[in-house]
Symmetry: C2
Subunit: 491 residues, 2 copies
């Protein structure tokens, strides 16, 4: 058995049976080992940013990591932005990064680079297998670390992959080390700021039963929501609005969440959003249960849907249509940015669903996350709410949706601008005509119907609310990927 | 004057007047400064890999660096693969990477990352401006380093950009430190292995006048070639063929080139391609002149073109059509990989032109390099010979071609496979049906006409040699970007 075969067998035995791949010559034996280990599903992507983002989306929904297969340092580099997002969202991923054979490194061939340095920024765990005999145990370690919500990067020299003398390693199970703190009676003025695990059941209901006001972090990794589920108010992206939400709070309890700070700095405005004098403490989600009061009646989200919209197609009517039609169990990958402002409100009372956000601010995550979520949950409908500018970072995702027949409806908000930058230009105290040209995507306008068709995905364009609603209803009634381009005005 | 304005003014004063941009909120004042410094041309791209590859292509043709504007660590990460290529090709680039305001760093906001670590792999020079007063002098240093063929990365905190109190810095001129070695009479058995500058005039003719056999590195940054120019045989990509070319050589003189090694390692095959017992020495290109013998008659490439092809469209007939029609002064960006095997031969006797290769092996360079070359040389025709698999890494390049009206003809070889990996699979001693699925791009087939149209670029599809030749002739006769999808069989 060669190193690659032992690696794949170990991954599968450890529960990692999906690998999002972008292989090259140095990963050839890993690819060949797919024939020896048929339990491993290889999902080909056309760009590494798709592979890493898909692994993120997969883990968010499968509650276990996927692997990626990346081609040396440049391949890892291409995947870096979505690994940054995974790190910020605490989603576990096992990266397998192929490298030159050990003895080939010294020749500084064209693809030679310092892979460890590229990996360092995003990986909590990095290891380079030194020989085929080590690959399997290294892989078991990588999986154990990824299961703790870490990006684990295993560098696999080609000769460690192709050499014989390897055997599979036992899976490693590791208990999560929790920072338990003694539960305290929550102070009367406590407001719970929920993030991470705390935005899913059973934590969400336990938090609601504390009777305290609940706030959620701005961009949750995975938020369970909808009719019958405790409603949590998400902190706004814009610091001005967030400050209003936080105003008057005197004790903020962080539950698997970071203390709120503004996304960017703005001249003369504070970065720290915690009101002056407000006490901040932390609480492990696993202690919520002990603080819950069974007599508290949980305030759950009432069932409600907006009416089917008519008239002009705008960010607001797109949201209304999504709210009118969102099916139970849907998974929403939300990278709609400015255009998506109305979507959470319009869907709050829909049947229970999951909402996946842009966790690290590096755009180009929405479509890959939709790919991964659809691979993880083939029986659930995935809806990607996707802004035009961000879509173009990893537009290659559409091809993998078509190739794998993934059940994803992409709602492509096309306002023909980096509209969030138009918004931010004034907020940072700057202006200028030539500057605004840098945020304009209208010359030429992107035609997402053509782009989708070019990658084998059926698509349509909607320019009125009725057209959009009919197209969405049709797409939700069918299997397989679809793109609906919603042409909407900018800000 | 704020830091951003002083920065742009300094860049322009130092001769850097093109910036390929992917801005975000942290770079907003840089963008706003475009209005204050109208000499700076901002070229918007939809993905950072396009921006960095375009800067590379620009510098290869303009013989001076361009700047890029990238959004924090993830933006730099997205640009990393083409910065790797630039580093390997010794092309200078000035990266401006925006970062959070200095006082915002400690809050670990979502886009916070260790930018220096991301930059280290590709940048010879890295600096973080500490205040607006430093930005201009840091920029002058960055340009001076980029002019030496280095990737220089300047990290620009938002507050250093927006704060007042800055003033432009004087350009820094720095003489290139050459490693002069005493010229020696070239030994009788010397073969010159040319790379870098040595593949351009006046070095090329001087090398030819030594009367020695000339070989060129496999993937030149910029090779001047065509009728009337000394012909240089390029070393083959496949080690087996390269070994045949090098067989019997007893003294190899490296002229701005690295000693030849195989691109990848293969089980049981040597990495070092220098024949056993062959002496290897180095020579600075600036000394070639002293070793040239004016009495030697330079063997130049005779003028010749293939006939216009007819019949089936194949990699060979595509090459023949390009050879039949390539205009004088054309710039060829070659990332055709396996499909492009015949193109250098078919164009060798065409009127003088430049040939730009994939310098670092990180695919996704061809289209961005074409963008940059077209910006640098608006009066010359750029022809991108582009393989399908690689094209998809930075397909967003097409939009920038349309937006800027760049005069680029993209020949898109669509063999519906990562055919080089089909080739390599056997060569590394591996096989397997599931493995081969990982190299197949036919389910679904990519439709590059639709993709090009989706980004505003006119396109056509050719399936016969006649169709292709007619389409190419038409495209060469017009201004502006075009894509011709050449549907060819795989290997």
């Amino acid at each position: 058995m060669n190193g690659a075969q032992a690696l794949l067998r170990t991954l599968v035995d450890s529960g990692v049976d999906v690998c999002f791949t972008n292989p090259g010559t140095s990963e050839m034996h890993f690819v060949a080992a797919l024939d020896a280990v048929p339990e491993m599903r290889g999902v080909l992507t056309l760009f590494e940013g798709v592979a890493t983002g898909a692994a993120d989306g997969y883990a968010r929904m499968a509650d276990k990591p996927a692997a990626t297969l990346l081609h040396l340092g440049p391949g890892l580099g291409n995947g870096l932005a979505n690994l940054h997002n995974a790190r910020k969202g605490k989603t576990g991923i096992v990266n397998i990064v192929g490298d030159h054979a050990t003895y080939h490194k010294k020749y500084d061939a064209q693809l030679e680079s310092d892979i460890e340095t590229v990996a360092r920024n995003v990986s909590t765990w990095i290891r380079r297998s030194s020989s085929s005999a080590d690959v399997a145990s290294d892989a078991a370690e990588a999986v154990a670390n990824a299961r703790m919500g870490q990006v684990a990067t295993l560098i696999l020299p080609a000769d460690a992959s192709w050499s014989e003398g390897a055997s599979p390693a036992e899976p490693i199970t590791r208990a999560k080390t929790l920072e338990y703190r003694k539960p305290y009676p929550l102070p009367d003025d406590a407001v719970l700021f929920l993030g991470g695990r705390a935005l899913r059941e059973p934590y969400l209901s336990a938090a609601a039963r504390t009777g305290k006001r609940l706030l959620a972090e701005t961009f949750p990794t995975r938020l369970q929501r909808g009719a019958g589920i405790p409603a949590v108010e998400r902190l706004a992206y814009l610091a001005e609005f967030a400050a209003m939400q936080l105003e008057g709070i005197t004790h903020l309890v962080l539950v698997d969440a970071k203390s709120p700070v503004s996304f960017f700095a703005y001249p003369g405005k504070p970065s720290d959003l915690v009101p002056e004098g407000c006490e901040v403490s932390t609480l492990d989600p696993d202690l919520l249960d002990q603080l819950a009061d069974p007599s508290v009646e949980v305030q759950v989200q009432p069932s409600a849907r907006p009416d089917r919209p008519t008239g002009a197609l705008t960010a607001e009517t797109v949201a209304a249509a999504v709210g009118a039609l969102l099916p139970e169990g849907a998974i929403v990958s939300d990278e709609a940015n400015t255009a998506g402002l109305y979507a959470p409100g319009a869907t709050a009372g829909c049947p229970p669903h999951d909402w996946l956000c842009l966790t690290g601010g590096a755009i180009g995550q929405g479509l890959p996350v939709a790919v991964g979520a659809a691979v993880a949950c083939p029986d659930r409908k995935v809806i990607a709410l996707q802004a035009d500018g961000s879509a173009m970072y990893t537009i290659q995702s559409l091809w993998t949706m078509a190739r794998e027949g993934l059940d994803v409806v992409v709602v492509l908000y096309n306002n023909r601008a980096y509209d969030i930058l138009n918004l931010e230009l004034g907020r940072v105290g700057a202006s200028g005509e030539r500057a605004k040209e840098m945020f304009d995507l209208s010359t030429p306008a992107l035609d997402f119907v053509a782009l989708a068709n070019g990658m084998g995905v059926p698509a349509s364009r909607a320019t009125t609310a009725d057209e959009f609603t009919i197209a969405l209803e049709k797409a939700l009634g069918e299997q397989g990927p679809t793109v609906i381009e919603a042409v909407i005005p900018g800000m």
